[in-house]
Symmetry: none
DNA sequence: CATGAATGAGTCTTCATTCAT
DNA sequence: TATGAATGAAGACTCATTCAT
């Protein structure tokens, strides 16, 4: 996607794009503004990306990857599945809540025709570790006997919708709110 | 004296907008194309809506209302909560799956800055019957002791994400897939 | 120009047009607004005028005629030329100052290509009585031996410019201001 | 690095706008046409001006300044007031007559709501040298004891109206016509 | 390789005029 | 004759992309 040279500039462009989306919404994500915010000349964006579409795709994948890595970073192999699932889920919940721009960006483009099939495929692939984790748990009879992908989608969708509800209504979720949400989530998949 | 405002045109415009979103994505939702698809002159749209933004808001609310009414139409007061919940959920699942344009339209704009606060508020209000239903069930000790709104958001989000997964991967959900999804959903909220 | 029927409606349209020009400037002189302000249906304007251009031309001529008649109404044949000139000039000055909309309307369109040659010609013809008056005075050796038309144009232009200056700078002209202006004017043409 | 802003384009735009006003009247002063006439892309105008309104304001001020400078260029400090006044006036008369587009442009917009208060203010300021000149002459008892601004407005208005009369009736003013006009003008202000 | 001026197709919206009722 | 909904040709302005420097 993005050429390797000057990775810092690419990140500056990513940050600029997110910042702008936060401040003015998606409609003002113009190349000129992104460039300006990133302290780069308009034309220079095209050194790093073929065009706007490619930039969006790259940013999308970047955010997905970043989030997944952050989640997986809390994984502790020596702990039980439940402990790990709780930790991973909590990380996901908090990340989504604390970086709403990134979450909205992902949400906004996940089902947009701007995303290329290839991007979609790569994004899917990022879920593999999670699927493997669930599959193991299924083998251990800890989870319902339902395709792991369906479970994951349900968990993600349900959790995000609740996060968005909190954000949209400007509610700061308390410990017990988060606990409630986890309870719902865990009940939904546990055997 | 003069021609009366032909309110059916509003629905023609709605249909046209949805059709276009399905065929070419959201970026081609131009007023000119919507008008053309609806068999109406460009300028005539402005007889029925103040502008693009108002049209989007109106369509959004229309779709939300339509969906909610379709759901509630299957409600049978004499039946148990579980039976009704299953029916309502199934209707929601199938509607989303069978009319993906409408679902995507709603999803796409739910968190867009184009939606006015007023539209958002009215959309919220549409959930009231469902919330009441859940609250009653909570009183009967059928559901977890968790705020009804959180449960609803989780149910909706989880279900939609699974539907979108099916659509995105061009999977036709079989009876047992739907059953699995319901199982997840029901487990998530039942006591 | 305007068909005879329902002269009151024509005047309502004239008034509406002037009112709108005063309130929102020339750019918002739309047929729809004029009609609304006049309490008439948009389409009905075309019963009275062939189109916008004709309406403007008619209004222009109407205003010119009205102003000239108001001026001439103060003419007193038994009085001297100077007395009459002063009276006529004063009327012109005050009319322009007290009905700035009408003055601006005339000014705005006098050299606009919207005015038809015919309108221009008829407007010229309205000056005849004044020209005759000046010509007589020239014969009596009261005025410079310069073409009357040139003198009239100079008088009108000079006076209007001063009026516009007062209006533009929100100055209420005092007796002596008006006297000064008349002094300038009279010196300019008297022998 | 990149192309530098080609400031000559601003003048090409000015010329194009004037040309169009001359050829087709003010209503065809569309940005697209101005750009085309100037040999520039439509969008490029917006590199030099924020919008149509700003362009008009800038052109207006440019024309006013240009005219004033041309006038003042004939001023000869060593000559008497009358000689200088005659020269300045003549320059004004001829400039107006020889460049009717520019004169009409100025006239057309002087009382238009398109002009910003700031533009109006700056235009006013351009008159200062003339006012000073008249004030000195008043001190020398050469002119009537009347506010200089009133005298200037009267002179300008009267003169322009005569010029417009010549142009409108396609009369080529002869030496004696011009002399007559000056005579009127000078009589109007001299003591 | 960086820059940002230049491009022009495309966008929303307006409005004089027409025409069905 | 009166009405005002319908029309669709402009109009001002935007913005992804190109390209001269």
């Amino acid at each position: 996607m993005a050429r390797k040279k000057d990775l810092s500039k690419i990140h500056r462009l990513y940050d600029a794009a997110l910042q702008l989306v936060q401040e003015h919404g998606f409609h003002s994500l113009t190349m000129a503004q992104v460039a300006k915010q990133a302290g780069i000349a308009t034309g220079s964006i095209y050194t790093y990306f073929q065009g706007k579409e490619e930039m969006i795709n790259a940013l999308y994948l970047h955010l997905k990857l970043e989030k997944m890595q952050a989640m997986l970073s809390v994984y502790q192999p020596e702990e039980s599945f439940l402990v790990n699932f709780r930790q991973l889920w909590l990380k996901y919940f908090l990340l989504s809540y604390q970086e709403p721009d990134k979450m909205h960006f992902i949400e906004q483009y996940t089902y947009s025709p701007l995303l290329s099939p290839q991007t979609r495929q790569e994004a899917d692939r990022l879920l593999t570790p999670l699927i493997n984790l669930l599959e193991s748990a299924k083998q251990e009879q800890l989870l319902k006997d339902i395709p792991a992908t369906i479970m994951i989608q349900h968990v993600i969708g349900g959790t995000l919708e609740v996060v968005k509800y909190f954000l949209n209504h400007e509610i700061t979720p308390q410990k017990n709110d988060i606990e409630s949400c986890f309870e719902i989530t865990w009940s939904s998949i546990k055997k």
